[in-house]
Each structure stands twice: as structure tokens, then as C-alpha cells.
């Protein structure tokens, strides 16, 4: 008689790949609010995300085929433009604003520093047609795509026929951008009780909660509102922010509160990229606030932080770095030959 030991391998390939597949598309992290983006009008699909990703990296979207979205929104810097305070566009022209980092856009209700864009789908129209940026028209982009065999195949796979349209181009780019979710920083592990803060980080978190979190609100680290955080008006750029959209005096010098996630990598900071380091930003909040009429109530009272507290706060801000986001191969360059 043999004594048999049974080794049973439980292999759930089907289930595993299903989970992986779901993850790849989109997931709202635990405890986060419901996304604002209406997925029913543009439900995520692998082939559409892929098409959007290829478009994002393809200079075909610009007039002289030299500039892609990624020129100003580089994947290695949480999708912002690092070298330049103000974004460079076609023919080396310089725009008036710093390109924001792109992440967790499914939760945003408006886009651009002044909220001029009301829907993620419509976002790409601005850079495509803005002269300083890509200098192209969506009509012509669509024509170029319709003439490309590579794109015909991609559109066919994604939409069941090979025709490129404005709607499909925009929705595909949205699909890719919607997948850019950053929710895996050390901070997140701590919140999900999978790690703990160092003493210094913890001190920094306390300082953050007291002084910063009313605008840079968890879990997105932005309340997505428009605020005046006391920056002096740049005499050359004369950028008054939100008032351009609402034409209401109470919105003068207000800008959309940016996220602080991955802040380590998204320098230079502010709408015009005026600060190069987190240190400079903190000095602004402690000593640089200009009391314009529209300065936020929350900053009327001076923020006092000594050198140690600034270091603590910075240490905390660095826990918002999400390596799995920054170096995610699923977000990187792709062209249609791949």
C-alpha cells in the first residue's frame, strides 16, 4: 500500500487574469470618493485605452508633427514638464502656464489652472489648437489619422470600424488619462495600515493637517476648488487666473488647487512654475503671502513654521511619492508598431 500525498495546485488563471484585467482598466481606491467622470458615456476598454495612449505619445497631433502631449506631460515626472517653468510648444513658443501633473483626473470636475475646461474629453482640444502648444486643428488631426493605415487598424480594433472621428480621438485620449491613478504612495500604505510613518513624517503630517489640508484635501490632496494662495502677480504674464473664465471680480488671482501627490517629481511649482523646490514653496507659505483682496480666508493668519518643522513637513510630503505610478510601464511610450 502506498501512502499518497496529494499536491493540489490551485491555479485560478481565469480569475487572476480577470482581476489583473480589471486593475489595468480603472479602479477607485478604497475610501476615495466616487469618480466625477461619467464612465457610462465612455466605458473603458483595453483597445481604446491603448489607442489613447498611442495618441498621447504621437506628435501627429501637432501641426508640424513635432510635439506630442508627452512633451509637456512626461510620464517620468507624473506627467508634467520638468525642465521648464512655462510649457514649450511648437516652434519653441512659450505658453503662459506651467503644465500641471496629470493624475487622478477621473475625480476632477474642471481642468486647467483656471478651470476653463469643463470635461476631460474636451481637454485635448485646447493644446491641439492652441498656437503656442501644438498649433493644429482637430479637423486636420482627424484627417491625418484617417489617412494612416496604422491608425485605421487601431480604430477598427477599438470601435469596430476604422474611421477616426473627433469624438473617438477625444474619448480615447480620455480613456488613457483616466487610467493614470496614483494611490500607492507610502502615505496610502499608512492609511491602509500596511505601513507606518516615521516619527518625523508623523510630525509633518500633523503640521500638514493643521495648515495645508483644507485646500490640499485628502485623499486627492486637492479640494479641486479655486483659491488665491497669496502668490504675487507676475508683472509680465499678468495672469489673473479664474476671473478669465467667470469674469467675476471675486475670482481674481484664484487658481485651481493642485494635487500634492508625487510633489517630489512635479517641480517647478505653481501655475507659472516660479518655485523650483519644496523649500521655496514652504518659504512662500510662511513669509511670502501677499494679502490681495481675494486671498483665501485660510491664509489670512500667518503660518509659522521653524526650520525643523519645515523639514518635518517636507518629509511628510515626500511620502506622497508613488513609485508604482511614476514608473508604471503601462503608462509609458507606445506607438502603433508595438
Amino acid at each position: 500500500m502506498k501512502i499518497k500525498l496529494l499536491l493540489i495546485l490551485l491555479i485560478f488563471t481565469g480569475l487572476m487574469s480577470f482581476v489583473a484585467h480589471k486593475d489595468l482598466l480603472f479602479f477607485a481606491p478604497k475610501k476615495w470618493p466616487k469618480p466625477v467622470y461619467n464612465f457610462t458615456n465612455n466605458s473603458l476598454d483595453k483597445t481604446k485605452i491603448k489607442l489613447g495612449r498611442i495618441l498621447f505619445y504621437d506628435p501627429i497631433l501637432s501641426k508640424n508633427n513635432t510635439i506630442s502631449c508627452a512633451n509637456c506631460h512626461s510620464p517620468y515626472n507624473a506627467f508634467t514638464h520638468v525642465d521648464h517653468a512655462l510649457s514649450h510648444g511648437i516652434g519653441d513658443s512659450i505658453g503662459i502656464r506651467n503644465s500641471p501633473a496629470l493624475m487622478n483626473l477621473a475625480w476632477h470636475k474642471s481642468f486647467m489652472w483656471d478651470g476653463a475646461v469643463n470635461h476631460l474629453d474636451m481637454q485635448a482640444l485646447s493644446p491641439i489648437s492652441h498656437l503656442d502648444e501644438m498649433g493644429e486643428t482637430i479637423e486636420n488631426v482627424v484627417l491625418k489619422l484617417q489617412q494612416s493605415n496604422g491608425y485605421k487598424r487601431l480604430f477598427y480594433k477599438a470601435y469596430g470600424d476604422s474611421l477616426a472621428t473627433g469624438e473617438r480621438v477625444l474619448k480615447s485620449i480620455s480613456q488613457f488619462m483616466l487610467t493614470l491613478v496614483s494611490s500607492n504612495s507610502k502615505y496610502d500604505s499608512v492609511i491602509n495600515m500596511k505601513a507606518s510613518f516615521s516619527i518625523q513624517e508623523k510630525k509633518g503630517y500633523t503640521i500638514f493637517l493643521k495648515n495645508c489640508s483644507s485646500c490640499h484635501t485628502e485623499p486627492l490632496f486637492t479640494n479641486l476648488n479655486f483659491e488665491n494662495n497669496g502668490l504675487s502677480l507676475d508683472k509680465d504674464l499678468k495672469d489673473y487666473g479664474r476671473i478669465k473664465v467667470t469674469q467675476s471680480a471675486k475670482d481674481s488671482l484664484k487658481f485651481k488647487v493642485p494635487t500634492l501627490r508625487n510633489i517630489e517629481f512635479t517641480y517647478p511649482y505653481m501655475h507659472d512654475g516660479r518655485f523650483k523646490t519644496i523649500g521655496e514653496v514652504l518659504n512662500h507659505y510662511t513669509d511670502g503671502i501677499i494679502h490681495y483682496k481675494t486671498l483665501s480666508q485660510l491664509l489670512q493668519k500667518k503660518i509659522k513654521l521653524n526650520a525643523d518643522e519645515k523639514v518635518d513637513l517636507t518629509t511628510f510630503l515626500l511620502t506622497l511619492t508613488d513609485k508604482s505610478f511614476l514608473f508604471n510601464p503601462k503608462f509609458g511610450y507606445l506607438n502603433f508598431r508595438q
Binding site: 461619467n38 458615456n41 465612455n42 476653463a116 475646461v117 469643463n118 470635461h119 476631460l120 474629453d121 474636451m122 482640444l125 485646447s126 491641439i128 489648437s129 492652441h130 482637430i138 479637423e139 482627424v142 472621428t165 473627433g166 469624438e167 473617438r168 477625444l170 474619448k171 480620455s174 469674469q247
Partner: protein, 195 residues
């Protein structure tokens, strides 16, 4: 329904006040067709968006399957705020139709471009791009007509009236939402006349 169309692109017309005008581009949206009987809605066209473009005279013929009994027809000139905030759409609402602003958000409800001897601009050009969907610059206009159970309803669009009510001498360029654009939209609405 047929909207009467005798105006031709690029032809020269002389207005009553002797201004000579030429229209080089004229496009606008109408939307939300609703049929009413004694104030009660009896029918609403689904997905009711129509782009009328003088380049394509067929676009001025709108076919609607409507119910038998109605006394009034209501529709809007322009695109409402819901559609303006819904993200990318296809068909005649596709942003490649040249009726979507880019740096500024939202649909252009009406585009009217051309030349007029009254305009003291380069080449006497005028450009009216009328749009805006957010308060206080909401330029969507709603129209309601009496029309009792007709098979064909003809609506006149009297552009001459637009030019006599708008002082194109000073008011010749409009390309973003503003209070003035809303005024122009209100004038534009008055030139729709049932025949």
C-alpha cells in the same frame, strides 16, 4: 419641416439701408424640438440636435416624425448646458464640425461670417460666433410657435433683420461668451418668423 432658404453664400446683397453685405459662412444649431397641445407636451424629439449649414442646403430641411395633434412647436437655437457639459459627442456634435470652441469651453451656437460695407474692419469683415452656456452668458434661445397640425412648417430666417438690429459698424466681431453675445443671440432669435 422646411426652413425657407433663398439666401446664397458669397452673393452680394443690398440691404434697405443701402449697406451691401456678403455672407461667407452661416451655420447654427437648433435643438430640443417639442410639440405641444394647449401647453401640454405631446411629443419631444429624441436626441434633438440639428446643424444647419448654408453650405449644405439640405441641412435646412429637417424631418421630424411628429404626432397628429399639436398646436405649438417649441425649439431652441443653440446647444443646452447639459450637452455642453457631457464630454465628447459624435455626429453633428463632433468637435470637428467647427462649432466647438477650444481654448474656451463649449459649443458655438451660431456662426455668421461675411463682409458688410458698414463694418470699418479689415476687408469690411464681420465675424459673429455666438455661444456660451453658463450663467450669466447663457446664449441658448428658446422659441415657440403656433402651428396647428400642419404637414409642413416653414420658418423664415430674416437675416436682413439681424443686420438692421445689430449695429455692425461697431459691433462686428464676437468670438466668445459675453453679455454682448447674449444680446446678439436674443436679436438672432427674433429673425425666425413662421410663414
Amino acid at each position: 419641416m422646411i426652413a425657407h432658404q433663398s439666401l446664397k453664400l458669397d452673393s452680394l446683397y443690398t440691404l434697405f439701408n443701402k449697406d451691401s453685405i456678403r455672407i461667407t459662412n452661416f451655420k447654427f444649431y437648433i435643438s430640443n424640438f417639442t410639440f405641444l397641445k394647449n401647453g401640454q407636451i405631446v411629443f419631444k424629439e429624441k436626441n434633438s440636435f440639428h446643424l444647419l449649414d448654408l453650405k449644405d442646403t439640405n441641412s435646412f430641411k429637417i424631418h421630424i416624425k411628429s404626432p397628429q395633434n399639436y398646436t405649438q412647436i417649441q425649439f431652441c437655437i443653440g446647444i443646452d448646458s447639459v450637452a455642453n457639459s457631457a464630454g465628447a459627442m459624435g455626429g453633428i456634435l463632433d468637435p470637428t464640425k467647427g462649432m466647438y470652441w477650444t481654448w474656451q469651453n463649449g459649443y458655438i451656437n451660431m456662426k455668421l461670417e461675411g463682409t458688410s460695407s458698414a463694418c470699418k474692419t479689415r476687408n469690411n469683415e464681420f465675424v459673429y460666433h455666438i455661444g456660451g452656456y453658463q450663467y450669466p452668458f447663457n446664449s441658448l434661445q428658446s422659441l415657440i410657435f403656433k402651428a396647428v397640425n400642419k404637414q409642413n412648417v416653414t420658418i423664415g430666417i430674416e437675416l436682413n433683420k439681424f443686420f438692421s438690429d445689430v449695429n455692425s459698424n461697431t459691433n462686428h466681431t464676437m468670438m466668445s461668451p459675453s453679455l454682448q453675445a447674449v444680446k446678439l443671440a436674443e436679436i438672432f432669435k427674433t429673425i425666425f418668423v413662421i410663414e
